[in-house]
Amino acid sequence: MIVMFELNGKSVSARVVHPTSLLAMLRDELRLPGSKNACEEGECGSCSVILDGDLVCSCLVMAADVERSVVTTVEGVGDDGKLHPVQQAMLDSGGVQCGFCTPGIVMTAVDLFDRVESPSPDDIREALAGNICRCTGYGAILRGLEAL
């Protein structure tokens, strides 16, 4: 089947053959590899995207279910290639090491700062609770986002 939806501000259509996830469609069909596949069961948050205003794990969403939806991935944040403020904050604070969790953490932080104007340190921790980072121990990520 063909799935049509809005992706990062543009109308797109994608061919879906097998029953597949939004994550697989983004990566394999639409050639947007920014969303990462690290567990495929909604535990690590590396595949996080914003779907119709909600932060979701794209590995848990069926591709066919995003028909007529609005999806934002890490490739769609920031303005004309410029870094989004949460990306800049994480760069400056040393919040990126291997970077595999980074797109998911960026999406979580973008969603949080969209919803809450001045999130507290506890708000940030609670928001990030669904994102596993294996490298940083989270300290530099928190310092970056708390400085925003």
Binding site: A38, E43, I132
Partner: protein, 748 residues
């Protein structure tokens, strides 16, 4: 963090921006943040097939027959290969080849590869792998490490005898300790793309920590000449030891050469848990003897680690466990008997800390027990025995001739301020979190200290070296290396080293393949900043000196060569001159141990300490690690923020081992190979961390730098355990410590 005052924007020698000592940002940070950084799992090329692996469902079985027919009958399947299709050496292995590329007669662990498949898409490849019919005769697995020891199923035994066998102490403590099987769980799973070159050779882009070791094993098993295989560095999503060994590398090259098509594979998470080695589970029996003043008189240890089915790095891990069995303490009379056994459990190998983690958990528990038996402050006991430069390592007798600030680490850590008592009822600050299970009145606070030591770089007579090249191009200075960036920040720090040495700010670091440069060795053993950093410093310094000599210049910068305040050679002219320098850097030589385990086995050491502060609901067994303070011997912090990142990340892996991380293996089968069941610390499990960097000059690393990656993981686990013991009064001789170990023991 209390960092040295080194975050100014100019280097002290040349005035170069983003040189050593600065917390310069990562050059790969922006593409990683934007999702455009190419990891191995993101690579693709025209006409690419997808691979899948057929794995044994039994930990021990004889293979009677493999029938690829049903898989080959599926449309879109291009190949099913078995051991018969391995063109060259049937075995591979990082230290010695003992592991089949594909099992032929017997499978020796659950998940061992038996056949490999290539198909048009990943789904078809997986369906085809499931359709390959393998007939097994199931055999009894050997899964008890003690039984394996009795049966002499061993990879290595180490016997250390030092000092006088008759000297005894008046105060004696004994203990038996266990460490569970931890997984590295890097976020990126194993992935790779092999591309045939059309002339019988192949290019491989795959997750790794060590391209040259992959290359030599691929060449042997493919029966090709070295020139016909090129192993390329690529984007890696973490490693922590999981990527030192070959896994999909030879498979992908075989499939690419057979199908004459590019072949890609990405392990799913559950396959990743069987597709790489783990931290060795360990059983440790200790006896410490001291005099009435608390001086260690004698330490005896039996170290047993389970290597699983194949050797991997068990020999070296056992070496570390035995050589660091006493910790950063002096003792003249030491016996250690170590064994790394062979079983039908999952193969174990490298993970951050590499043997030192397991024994640290035990020797630090012993030091606390000894302090209690002496009625002495446990920190005073450690001070009295602190190992220093000029002392002999308790196990091997090696005279330590690089800075070893154990005493400074202890004193600095103790002097760090303690957090206030917490009377908050906020669930985020209570053990158990928002489950709302705990009330503050049921919570007890505990504080525990632990200290650890480990070697840096390869040991026991290894010819450990790294090659690097520095050249001047029209785009700026280029550093070329085959050293693998796994996320730790090598790409940042070697750029800083080159900038400071050359005086040129415009430096790019390029990771190049095995055909274009010599080995940089493995990204492991905390060694790349010292080894590849050392090579880059030597190459950049030699190149600058040659340029300045050639043009009688005084200094070099982005504009060119300067003399008497005038630009004498513009950079553009220099860049067309073919200036380059390739250097191989070696650390001081080490020896193999003698028959008593004695000798100069190690090139350098690092020491660190951790203070854990925990809150425990003893009745429910719930623990919150509130804070970890650390002091770490770093030599010289070349990038303080990056060092801090290693410290914080390493500590959380240590907390994970203390609290939750364990692969549960029953009858040789991993019961929890998913992120749902193998628990990793989230941000809500992460303690606040304060870090003090202890800088002392004198190590052979560039500018005196020491490796910093492993020490944070070595004693943090032991410190958390000590803190929980203090809060509960329980012995807690095993990690991870789960709620039932606290609650069902009843506490104090």
């Amino acid at each position: 963090m209390t960092a040295p005052p080194s975050t100014t924007l100019t280097d002290h020698v040349t005035g170069t921006v983003n040189g050593i000592g600065e917390s310069t940002v990562r050059p790969d940070g922006i593409p990683k943040l934007q999702g455009s950084f190419a990891y191995a799992s993101d690579l693709e090329t025209e006409g690419m097939l997808w691979a899948a692996t057929v794995r044994s469902p039994h930990p021990h079985a004889r293979i009677v027959d493999i029938d690829p027919g049903p898989a080959l009958a599926i449309g879109g399947v291009h190949a099913v290969l078995t051991a018969e299709d391995v063109p060259g050496r049937l075995l591979f292995g990082l230290e010695h080849p003992d592991q089949p590329v594909l099992a032929s007669d017997v499978v020796r662990y659950w998940g061992e590869p038996v056949a490999i498949v290539a198909a048009e898409d990943p789904e078809t490849a997986r369906i085809a792998a499931a359709a390959v019919t393998v007939e097994y005769v199931v055999l009894d697995p050997l899964v008890d490490p003690e039984e394996a020891d009795t049966r002499d199923e061993v990879f290595r035994r180490i016997r250390i005898r030092r000092g006088d066998q008759d000297v005894r102490g008046s105060v004696v403590v004994e203990g038996v300790y266990e460490v569970g099987m931890q997984d590295q769980a890097p976020l990126g799973t194993e992935a790779g793309l092999a591309i045939p070159d059309g002339e019988g050779g192949v290019d491989l882009y795959a997750t790794t920590q060590y391209v040259h070791a992959d290359h030599s094993q691929i060449v042997a098993s493919l029966d090709l000449t070295a020139e016909m295989v090129r192993s390329h560095p690529t984007g890696i999503g973490g490693a922590f030891g999981a990527r030192e060994d070959v896994n999909l590398h030879i498979h992908l090259c075989m499939l690419a050469l057979y199908t004459r098509r590019p072949v890609k594979q990405v392990y799913q998470r559950s396959e990743s848990f069987t597709g790489h080695v783990h931290r060795h589970p360990a059983r440790l029996r200790y006896r410490h003897e001291a005099d009435e003043d608390g001086r260690l008189v004698r330490v005896e240890a039996d170290v047993l680690i389970d290597g699983g089915a194949y050797a991997s790095t068990t020999s070296a891990v056992l070496g570390n466990a035995c050589y660091f069995a006493v910790g950063p303490y002096k003792c003249d009379n030491v016996n250690v008997d170590g064994v790394g056994v062979r079983t039908n459990n999952p193969p174990c190998g490298a993970m951050r800390g590499f043997g030192a983690v397991q024994v640290c958990f035990a020797h630090e528990a012993q030091m606390d027990r000894l302090a209690a038996a002496l009625d002495m402050d446990p920190l005073e006991l450690r001070r009295r025995n602190a190992l220093a430069t000029g002392d002999a390592l308790a196990t091997t007798g090696q005279r330590i001739d690089t800075p070893l600030p154990t005493r400074e680490v202890i004193d600095s850590l103790v002097a760090m301020p303690m957090p206030e008592d917490d009377d908050s009822e906020d669930p985020l600050r209570l053990p158990g979190g928002t489950g709302l299970t705990t009330e503050r009145r049921d919570v007890r606070r505990g504080v525990g200290y632990a200290f650890g030591i480990k070697n840096l770089g390869f040991s026991e007579g290894s010819d450990d070296y790294a090659q690097a090249r520095v050249l001047l191009s029209p785009q700026g200075a280029i550093v070329e290396t085959a050293a693998i960036e796994v996320g730790q920040g090598l790409v940042t720090v070697v750029g800083q080293i080159a900038r400071s040495a050359l005086g040129i700010g415009n430096v790019e670091v390029r990771h190049i393949d095995t055909s274009r440069i010599g080995s940089a060795g493995s990204t492991s053993a905390s060694r790349q900043t010292q080894l590849t950093g050392g090579a880059v410093l030597a190459a950049a310094t030699a190149l600058r000196d040659r340029v300045l000599t050639e043009f009688a210049g005084e200094y070099l910068d982005d504009d060119g060569v300067w003399r008497d305040g005038e630009l004498v050679v513009p950079y553009a002219e220099l860049a067309s001159g073919g200036w380059e320098e390739t250097t191989t850097f070696r650390h001081p030589p080490t020896e193999e141990p003698d028959e008593n385990g004695q000798g100069t086995l190690h090139a350098d050491f690092a020491v660190a300490g951790h203070r854990a502060i925990v809150d425990v609901d003893v009745g429910l067994g719930l623990v919150r690690v509130v804070r970890i303070d650390t002091a770490q011997d770093v030599g010289k912090a070349l990038n303080p923020e990056s060092v801090r990142g290693q410290i914080e990340g390493g500590i959380l892996q240590g907390v994970g081992l203390a609290m939750m991380e364990e692969l549960i293996v029953e009858g040789g089968v991993i019961r929890n190979p998913t992120f749902t069941d193998y628990l990793l610390p989230t941000v809500l499990d992460a303690p606040d961390v304060e870090a003090l960097l202890i800088e002392q000059e004198g190590s052979w690393g560039p500018h005196g730098a020491k490796g910093v990656g492993e020490p944070p993981t070595i004693s943090s686990t032991a410190a958390v355990a000590a803190a929980i013991r203090e809060a509960t009064g329980l012995a807690l001789p095993r990690v991870p410590i789960r709620p039932e170990h606290v609650a069902l023991e009843g506490g104090v």
